[in-house]
Amino acid sequence: MTTPIRRATSALLVGSAFVVLATSCAPDPNDVRGAEHQHMSMPVDSAAVMGAPDRPIAGPQGAVGQFVVECPYSHALPDDPIVYPGEPGASHMHVFFGNVAVNADSRPEYLLGQDTTCEQRADTASYWAPALYHDDEMLIPEKSVAYYRAGLDVDPTRVVAFPFGLYMIAGDAMAVEPQPTSVVAWSCGSGAMRSETPPACPDKRGLRLDVTFPDCWDGEHLDVAGHREHMRYSTAGKCPSSHPVHVPQLIFSVAYSFSGDPTGLKLASGGVLTGHADFVNSWDQGKLEDEVRLCLHRDVVCGVTSGRVSG
């Protein structure tokens, strides 16, 4: 395990250097997040900045190469290490998956090597989403499912692993209008139906929040002020020249056991229209690179997840 860690650390340092160049006020060269507290004064319309996939990505698995990681629920905190770093309690309530050590102070280099809830033990990344409430009672999710694929119509051999320490947010926590279902959608179980608002799901095929992350990176920044400008969605299989690096398209699905009448549901970030999710790449970088090479470059289905439930 030492080789991937060394590789990951050097990737982190390279990434940090880029950030230092780009954000000259970073107080600590190892703190990739130094200068990004401006978010509070600059809410971002994520769709306007990052675009959206050409269409919702749903349907049977098995047509394109992918790897999938299921991560049972880890914990809930009113923390957000991307938006409110170092400010415990400053955020709305989030539900966390994967890395078990995440809190407001977490840095990728700290998360690496911590335990994870994921079945894929090398996935020590952190994933989180706003908590979901039903009549003011917080619903504990069952698990998350992270699908990693090439973006729609993207040549999978062009995809490279996320750089270690990358921060991403997808979806708009301040949305007051429905978001594109290609970015944020609600669904039932592993079904392909995508809705702007939570549907009434059948028993045992519970409600899911599905968030699709951008798949083009600017090649320089692990994070930026506002947490959006370094990422874009591909269009017609291409990344824009400003964000030329194809990274995996992460589709992140939070699975609840909740079924039936969706009346009374709301997200911690606001109503049911404010769906979003956050990702910190603190994977074992060597393993992540292996999965990209083996599954995406070779266009092989390295695993599937289905409606099957281990009872």
């Binding site: 749903a58 349907g59 049977p60 698995q61 098995g62 047509a63 079945e119 894929q120 033990r121 669904s187 039932c188 179980g189 592993s190 079904g191 392909a192 139906m193 995508r194 059948p202 045992k204 095929r205 292996d290 083996l294 599954c295 070779r298 266009d299 092989v300 289905v301 390295c302 695993g303 599937v304 289905s306 409606g307 099957r308 439930v309 281990s310 009872g311």
Partner: protein, 475 residues
Amino acid sequence: MRLFRALLGVSVLSVSLIACGSDDDAVDAPSTEAPTSEAPSTEAPSTEAPVAGVLNVPADYATIQEAVDAAAEGDLILIAPGTYKEAVQVTTDNIVIRGLDRNTVIMDGNFELDNGFRVVGASGVAIENMTAMNYTKNGFFWTGSSSYRGSYLTAWRNGDYGIYAFDSVGGLLEYSYAAGSPDAGFYIGQCFPCDSVIRNVIAEHNGLGYSGTNSGGNLVIVNSVFRNNRAGIVPNSGSYELCYPQRKTTIVGNLVYSNNQPDTPAIDVAILAMGNGILNAGGVQNIIERNRVWDHDKTGIGLVPFLEEDANDAIPGRDTWETDCATQKQQMPVIPDGPLLWDSQDNEVRGNVLENNRRADIAVGSAGSNLWELGNCFAGNTFTTSAPLDLEALAPCGSPLSETTGDWLAGDLNVITWLVDAETAPPSVDWKTATLPELPQLENMPDAATAPAVPANATPPTIDLAAIVVPDKID
């Protein structure tokens, strides 16, 4: 039946062969008396010099992964007895990976690693003569392969499947054993035509003995044992993966018994299917013939619908059943706005011998469809009970079925009640801690140290189905 006796009669000799990594291992190192063309004949032991075409673990390579990465097409990797805590990725075509002793070459995932072997888009890879246990996903896994073979494998206590082939064709799984998986012990899914054979295997104490989602087309399951699982042999259809419906699987000459096991790990479908021997769940055009099936709480052989609530595509019509998997992959799904009901259709159930299947020895059910319009037929079976009653008279093979052949409602299977039964069925037991039969000592591959490397062949052996008779009981 010779295999069964051999498997059951295996001695405990191997218990003494747990010399993991001891100095004695070197004497087990093989010579290649009958080499492949890439491997010149030599009798030099591996301790003196590596033999071209033969890569010894750990003598030449400390880990299996290092040997696999170093291997070229045609090479043979020979693994000495020992416990290997590895999750091996294979991407090289046409290599053979072999344990020197099935029962003491042990891949151990230690409840942390995902797959013992994952063959990713490589073809011709054969894995032989070893055991994989305690993996969070699968013991042995092929995906995206155009030919594959698993022989003399033991998969024991793994978190998903025992031996698993997905989106792969040209497969042969043989002389293998799988126990303790919440999904299936053996699985072949998403292929049409699959051109694959499962023969002479044993599956027990799994959620499902065999499961095949959307697989078929020259797919043959013969001369095997499925016992003490929640359910035995379960071909099934579903739109969560591609190449539906499940079609054209031939199931002949198997022993299927006592699949009511309440203390196995189990996915939800296994709990729903519990108490059935051969359960055709939404599959079409399968042939189920000359199996011996006994001691099940529900049906011996049941043809039932599968309700898929979280659908991903519309059910393709009968006119598309010859469409191959590659073609179907290119088609855009049509997202339905409601659940799907996959009916079992055009299946043939012939010449099986059944007893003591408490709901019915042979059965066909639906959830609203008219049974006589589903085209399933039953002929020449030895049985006592059926649902509906007098099923062979109602649904004979070889002539069109009709509403007027009899009373299709008398003794209806009433399969909808199974959804209710599942609510009170014994729940899943954690796969990590479920009580299993002791890891059995099973028949070794003949001449493992010296047999030549034979990569998997895209054309599996032709099975002489006509020569297979209903097997005798073994218990």
